[in-house]
């Protein structure tokens, strides 16, 4: 396997549980080891509260480890964040620019992509209206269209594979699948086996903040379910 883009060694992350003097810290991640090779599509599986989303934010560079080590190659990592930083009173166009800037695009790059955003989101004249007048579906469509304009080296996805109404779900799902299979490195958190099998070529299993196993999807899922209570497998 080639040189990993990101490598975690015995990484632990502690949070402050509440705003109170002397409040205990809790370790959302205890001991995670992980190697993410360039071009890999890694699935993250584990129960609720195992630390999967925390792990994604570590990979995104938002959370710095309180113990252990991270080695990063030169690569941009970005969470797929929908409607990031949207302001209700601003038009769809202004929000697209604002959100794009926050996601790390240059102003002129966003301006160049505005027609594509407008077209993909199917907002028409509403693009110039404040997003506070949007329906939930329209809001989601704009959020997704903007998020898809960012092309990081490592794309981090937390559960979301498609948004909006039935029709837009198909369209957004197809667009995201295309992005995922275009050779980008992907880390994908999901509860659903079928999705992980579809998207990923390898997987890591996180349990109580520890990485238990990393390997081929089928082996990891099999081991995970062998250890899981039956009730949870049903889903």
């Amino acid at each position: 396997m080639n040189e990993p883009i990101i490598e975690l060694q015995n990484v632990g992350i502690a949070f402050n549980a509440q705003l109170r003097l002397g409040a205990p810290r809790f370790w959302a991640l205890e001991d995670v080891n992980l190697a993410l090779p360039r071009g890999a599509r890694l699935g993250v599986v584990g129960r609720n509260g195992a630390g999967k989303s925390t792990l994604l934010r570590v990979l995104a560079g938002i959370l710095a480890p309180d113990r252990g080590r991270i080695r990063r190659g030169r690569a941009s990592c970005q969470l797929l964040s929908l409607a990031l930083g949207f302001v209700p009173y601003l038009s769809g166009r202004d929000n697209a620019i604002l959100s794009g800037l926050m996601l790390g695009l240059r102003r002129r790059e966003i301006e160049r992509r505005l027609p594509a955003i407008l077209e993909f989101s199917e907002l028409g004249d509403f693009f110039e209206q404040p997003v506070s007048s949007y329906s939930t579906g329209m809001y989601a469509r704009l959020g997704f269209s903007v998020a898809m304009q960012v092309e990081p080296d490592v794309l981090l996805i937390d559960e979301v594979l498609a948004v909006g109404d039935t029709e837009f779900q198909q369209k957004s799902g197809a667009a995201l699948r295309e992005r995922i299979h275009s050779g980008t490195t992907v880390v994908f958190v999901s509860h659903m086996d079928a999705q992980v099998r579809n998207v990923c070529d390898c997987a890591v299993w996180i349990e109580h903040g520890r990485s238990v196993m990393q390997g081929p999807v089928d082996e990891v899922l099999a081991a995970y379910h062998a250890a899981a209570p039956v009730a949870e497998v049903a889903q």
Partner: protein, 253 residues
């Protein structure tokens, strides 16, 4: 800071002002009406009721209030900004100085309106424009840096102790009264006055009054001292925000 973040700051400032305008019927008229009402209140209480009667009290008060309001709103808005954006900060990596900077710039745009209004009033009172107006440029620039410095420092700590936000307004109120905004500090004995003048706001407002009322150039040595203090605080604020950034994202929601 990279050019890209400058673009974000400028566009966010535009967004902030635009959203604010959309939130009321009178829109940006409030940027003038609100401070004008504020000035009228002080005028009513201190000039009419309490008869704080030195000659030239009206221009004295209006200049003080204008320069003070800019500083005050920058600090109170900028100081809360990181705390208010914690949810965003948990999702994306940004240099966090962006957030206080946006608030300060938005308040600076509003200040520009009020300053124009102030100049018109002063001219109507007979204080004519003069060559020392050029001295306003460094004075305002230093005030901007000092405002940003204090806002950064406050913004760096509020996320850890959000309770401080209940205290800030009160502290600012006290600072206003010891900054010679409403009362002249001339009545204070000189050896005590030295301590008051350590406060950069005192020097900045003095410089403003010198220029606008007496056509005198600012006290350059005092201004140099204030510049040094402002830059030092600004560097400290920037350092603290950068240093604490990894800890903000771990604070409880």
């Amino acid at each position: 800071m990279r050019l890209h973040w400058l673009e974000l700051i400028l566009f966010s400032t535009y967004a902030e002002l635009r959203a604010e305008r959309a939130r009321s019927y009178l829109g940006f008229l409030w940027w003038i009406i609100e401070p004008a009402m504020n000035m009228a209140t002080y005028y009513l209480v201190f000039a009419m009721v309490l008869k704080t009667g030195q000659p030239d009290y009206v221009p004295f008060l209006l200049i003080g209030l204008t320069l003070w309001q800019w500083f005050k709103s920058g600090v109170s808005h900028g100081g809360l900004s990181i705390w208010q954006q914690l949810n965003l900060i948990r999702q994306v990596r940004l240099p966090l100085q962006v957030f206080p900077s946006v608030q300060i710039l938005a308040d600076t745009v509003k200040f520009a309106f009020i300053l124009s209004l102030l100049l018109v009033i002063l001219w109507a009172y007979g204080y004519k424009p003069n060559i020392t107006y050029f001295g306003l440029i460094p004075v305002l620039l230093v005030e901007l840096i000092f405002t940003a410095a204090v806002a950064y420092l406050v913004a760096a700590f509020i996320p850890f102790v959000p309770d401080l936000r209940f205290v800030i307004e009160q502290v600012l109120q006290v600072v206003m009264f010891i900054s010679g905004v409403v009362f002249s500090l001339d009545s204070i004995p000189p050896d005590l006055r030295r301590w008051f003048e350590l406060n950069p706001i005192v020097e900045l407002i003095d410089a403003g009054r010198d220029i606008l009322m007496y056509a005198r150039w600012p006290d350059w040595i005092a201004l140099g001292r204030v510049t040094a203090i402002s830059l030092a605080f600004f560097a400290l604020g920037t350092y603290l925000i950068r240093r604490y950034t990894p800890r903000y994202v771990k604070l409880p929601t």
